[in-house]
Symmetry: C2
Subunit: 230 residues, 2 copies
Amino acid sequence: MSRPLEVVLISGGMDSAVALGMTLKERFEAAGLHLNYGQKTEKREVRAFKEICDFYGIEKRLVVSLPYFRQIGGSSLTDEKIPVSTSGIDPQGIPSSYVPFRNAHGLSIATSWAEVLGASRIVIGAVEEDSSGYPDCREVFYKAFEQAIRLGTKPKTKIEIATPVIHFSKAEIVRKGSELGVPFHLTWSCYQNEEAACGVCDSCRLRLKGFEEAGVEDPIPYKEKEKIYA
Amino acid sequence: MSRPLEVVLISGGMDSAVALGMTLKERFEAAGLHLNYGQKTEKREVRAFKEICDFYGIEKRLVVSLPYFRQIGGSSLTDEKIPVSTSGIDPQGIPSSYVPFRNAHGLSIATSWAEVLGASRIVIGAVEEDSSGYPDCREVFYKAFEQAIRLGTKPKTKIEIATPVIHFSKAEIVRKGSELGVPFHLTWSCYQNEEAACGVCDSCRLRLKGFEEAGVEDPIPYKEKEKIYA
């Protein structure tokens, strides 16, 4: 009997890679979905997506381009006029890297694809507590969206949203990934560089802090590693 | 003082045109959003969008392309292998023209744009009762999605979803549009033709039935008008 299908959002970063590693321990077959939304490190992230899919032998893959995020702007990740913050994470408020309501787009695409494939679950590696304070990374948002999926798809369609790392700290993600043999060397987190990670954008800082706290060496190359914690 | 902003989803069809005409009676300034999602009549619909915006003097416009709907498929509107139904509407079940979870994509884009613009309302011309039975056209879906918007955007962002024609029949839409001077001659509803409407696809049938019941002449050209009611 074939295994049930799930659509896994794989950004190329460490959180979604660990979420994927965790979900592959269950009996689901994964279909990998990656979004190019005009982010500055788009090419490096799609390479990470492909290498992670190769690593896990994922055959069903969908890479979609959302060029409209650049038309909409409003984020340092998609708007050339807004610089990526490198001066440390502001514990208050929403950072400039917030892409307005971005995760809803990923969930909508995942839902459409899941409905066509007949998949019963969407997996997303969102992290609530130790993330950058993005509102669309909170569990309450996913619960609300799951309800919208239930009411906005065919009656026979049943799709749940799994957020396996939502309450993990970055250190717990590193520990869990190490335990499961997740290929961290294939992942990419930096918001601004594609060759060697910058080490100072919010995403690099959170990643480095996670590896440091977990006592694990981060295998990807860095331009500089600043030991400034958020 | 400037008027509050709203993002109006303008498909080029008659429902969203009437929703727009109704909302412009209020004190909002409209920003027009149109989606090209790989539908067969994409070019004709974007022309209708532009002409409707010109008619109402809407300056803020965003036309976004969602080429991934063709990658996902699963609908007669986006998949060349699935023919558009022309044999009448099945009162049971979901028609082949259902594009899986499509309206969630439009709402997500509208929300991202509204958050960047500082708009406080999204207007969508979805019709629940007299539509083709699409699950993402029901009021319960919009209520659930509004909750997802509340939880997935910045705390200071307040965006509501207005569905002014959701409980209208097609005949009521025609009557309301006629009363408000909505430019029906600029709208396009046909799922398969771009020159003269086919008159026999589900969308043409619903439109023709609405005009007939309202006792109003439909001003757009038809290839054939079959008087078969759903």
